[in-house]
Amino acid sequence: MNIFLDLFLTFFKIGAFTFGGGYAMLPLMQEEVLAHKWMPLEDVVNFIAVSESTPGPFAINMATYVGSEVGGAFGLAGSLFGSFCATFGVVLPSFIVILIVAKCFERFKNSKVVKGCMTGLKPAVVGLIGSAIISVLLTVFIPNGFSLGIFTDASFYVSLAIFVICTVMAFKKVHPIIIIVLAAVLGIVTGYVL
């Protein structure tokens, strides 16, 4: 399939099947990006940090980024067109659905079918993100696969320490950007020392 059409259709699917904001899109996004071999999980995780530190919704940022990376194989114009296709694809389902809902709002609001589906969808997002986090956890702590050797590897303990510090800060409601900057500084310092 044409790569640009593929970008559009894939992100259309992601936009059409993600309910709830923020990271609700991560599980499906992760699955599609890895299945297409568009980029490794490491790059996806790196980009979550970029997205947290720039304005705009995660879904749009991610679509633009993946589109630009994938289309980049065809040069600058490819980057531009790829990011356009992915972003347009992820936006379009919401746009169409909201236009329809806005026209028959009362019926939608009181719909038992919509309410019923939501009682399944809301908890599903929690389970799916939990599962996506397991993959992220594996890339962070054992990027080269599991072996007993990781317990003698200093970088394992460095990641663990950074993770613990950042988790404590996150639950103390420190702003995400500050956490990311701190994690970056710790990463650079330990990278040069080790």
Binding site: T18, P27, I98, A102, K109, P123, A170, F171
Partner: protein, 186 residues
């Protein structure tokens, strides 16, 4: 007619501003929409905002897009929806496109790689925080716990498409809520 064109243009500008200055997306956008559209422009009311949140939560897609499209449509019809959505997307699009070029240039430098080694551990922490927040907001009860457990286990340990899990959970929620309703009627 001219006032409508003007309104559409203003919608574009307001949502451009919202898109450019909201970090973290989604709910962070709601207070800004409230200030700009309800207090300053008086295009919609506070009750409308609550409706928009309710709708955005039960329709697919990012909350930012849902609310931009809905507000735009309420204020100025189809073209209002289009320009508001374009406005909210445009800043991210431009900024991320530029960043993707910069990342490509710098990602092989050792310092950048070390930084991202640390950052990935930090992102993991942010994701776990987000998971806990979402768990607290999710409905409680037996159906909810079954769905959380099943969707987690199925996607973590089996090679099953996330899409099927999402559809399956929606159907399960629908069926159980219809059964619960029928029982309460008896």
């Amino acid at each position: 007619m001219e006032s409508k064109t003007k309104k559409i243009f203003q919608l574009f500008l307001v949502f451009l501003k919202i898109g450019a200055f909201t970090f973290g997306g989604g709910y962070a956008m709601i207070p800004i929409i409230q200030k700009e559209i309800v207090e300053n422009k008086k295009w919609i009311t506070d009750d409308d905002i609550l409706e928009i949140i309710a709708i955005a939560e039960s329709t697919p897609g990012p909350i930012a897009i849902n609310s931009a499209t809905f507000v735009g449509y309420r204020v100025a019809g189809f073209f209002g929806a289009m320009l508001a959505t374009l406005g909210v997307v445009l800043p991210s699009f431009v900024i991320i496109l530029l960043i993707s070029f910069v990342l490509r240039e710098f990602q092989d430098i050792p310092a950048v790689q070390y930084a991202f080694n640390g950052i990935r551990a930090g992102v993991l922490a942010l994701l776990i925080k987000a998971l806990v927040t979402m768990y607290k907001k999710a409905p409680k009860g037996l159906v909810s716990y079954i769905v959380i457990g099943a969707s987690f286990l199925i996607t973590a340990f089996f090679d099953i498409n996330v899409l099927f899990v999402i559809i399956g959970c929606a159907v399960f929620g629908l069926v159980t809520s219809l059964i619960a309703e029928r029982r309460s009627k008896k």
